[in-house]
Symmetry: none
Subunit: 186 residues, 4 copies
């Protein structure tokens, strides 16, 4: 029971996520979401009482998906490099995720509940980057004078803006430059 119930919820979230990626929150229609999973639109309210509830679920899903970009590697340098590569890979394989995330971030400006989810993810990410950088400094990979907080913020800022207002060519360039600044190239 529960698993089937969970499945339907999840399927609805996925359908809503893709709709948002395609048409933005602006173009999100519950009827379309229900149609996508072959469900009557009234049934959708069985799982999500309001549109807002569904939207929140989507935002949570998107931020969690993003948070799963766990890097692998032994040294901090390797970890950071693989982190950036994984993200770049995700960008190519599933650009929808970045679009939806940016939609969420804009909406967070007006929706307190979404803001909490988005901010939490941002802070966790920042902390994660800071830790890698600190460990790298300890191991002599980066100079002790590195402002880890600032660098972490810059990394996030740069990645954030990909797929929004930049062609994929320019995005790739920007990411390469970031790696150069971080001295990640061999």
């Amino acid at each position: 029971m529960t698993s089937k119930n969970e499945d339907r919820s999840q399927t609805l979230i996925l359908a809503a996520y893709h709709t948002i990626a395609e048409k933005g929150f602006e173009g999100l229609r519950l009827r379309e979401v229900a149609d996508r999973v072959g469900l009557n639109h009234a049934t959708l309210h069985h799982y999500f009482p309001t549109k807002e509830a569904l939207v929140q679920a989507v935002v949570l899903y998107v931020t969690q998906r993003f948070a799963q970009t766990v890097p692998i590697g032994e040294t901090p340098v390797e970890q950071l490099r693989s982190h950036l590569h994984l993200i770049q890979q995700l960008m190519q394989e599933e650009p929808a995720l970045f679009i939806a995330l940016n939609e969420a971030k804009l909406r967070a400006q007006r929706d307190p509940i979404i803001r909490i989810t988005v901010q939490k993810q941002a802070e966790a990410w920042h902390e994660f980057l800071v830790n890698i950088l600190r460990e790298g400094i300890k191991q002599g990979n980066w100079s002790e004078s590195l402002d880890v907080e600032a660098v972490a913020s810059a990394i996030i800022a740069l990645i954030n803006s990909t797929n929004i207002g930049l062609s994929s060519k320019r995005t790739k360039q920007a990411m390469q430059q970031l790696e150069r600044w971080l001295e990640l190239n061999d």
Copy 2:
């Protein structure tokens, strides 16, 4: 045609711009825009036949406002520094501009006409940065090995994402780090 006519159009564009900054394209209502300037909602259609026309005008206005960040200074380094400072100043004084710009960029993904406007501005900006960097290299301010295209892309990416998903504190940090990477600090 007449200057009064132009004035009205401009006032409507401004009202729409602020509404979009506050509530997103999602929350843009023509009636509210008309109300804001004390005009009947039907009259608005005399100036902008459709909602889409008004939205396009707003996007144009916003990108042009942004393009007016003309840097001053003699040397390329001074120009780039003043450029970044002007942008940071604008961020603080009129954050609405950046929000609206990001809204426009997301919408550009689905709206070909808006996409053209947004891309044009992005390319112009990129070219502008490339030129400064090239001139700087010529004058010995930066290494000849600098990948000017990549650096320009990185600058844009970084600035783009400000005011979206980052607190103003982190935004400031990211901008400082950018200046360090660009060796703009004395």
Copy 3:
């Protein structure tokens, strides 16, 4: 302009009033009201922003219609008699008014705004009856021991319940008995 506007509002109120009399608040559908006056249902919202607004207007209309039962006659006895006769006449000619009034009274129990309108009318009516009775006592028509407040309350209570749970035959009987108790018969 205004008069036409007023006309439409009034026509809508009338249509809603008759619908309520026929089907109760329970069966009030905005679409039906609009249909009755040959208007698109969306246009109805042009005149009454919400259903509640329309309902309030109907309640006001009904109570005011009822309050217009102005009695004629020189002496208090004649006034009271003509008052009761006018009401009986109204009962026969427009029973809908009494049904709608009773609907309003029941709804008043849950709707504070309607409650105010209904209570105001009830108090005004009570005061009106008390004044007639007092004047009658002064002129020697009724005994000085008459409890004018109680008698007024009883008159209202009795009339209130007509057309609700009593056949018209029994209603008439009750009204006749009331007149006997008030010694209005010559």
Copy 4:
């Protein structure tokens, strides 16, 4: 069938009755009724196949509750007095009963099945009052010229309208006046 079954039905009727008293037929929701008794809303349909069936059961319950106001006393005067007192007591203790009854009476206007139940109770009550009055006349408590049918109708009309459109203060006044007219005092 089983007593447990009966219990459940009764509990559901009670829950529906209270909901109607609070929110009117207008606000009656089967889900809420089921929730009130801790039952699944689908299960409710095992006991009452349709909403209408439940409503009819509630109307029956309410009218029967009211009919149980059996007067005590030896003489007709005492019986009538105790009858009125019992009703007044019920008014104070369980005003919901009167509200629900009035709701039922209004609904009876549109629902033939409910109308039968309501009318039956009204006629039974009327007959009951007539009998008491007739017996009282026989025993010399009231004048032979008393129009028993009319007086019975007036009593019913007056009681009916209590708790609808009259404050409890005015209701009490009206009841007192009724007792005076019926010479039930001292």
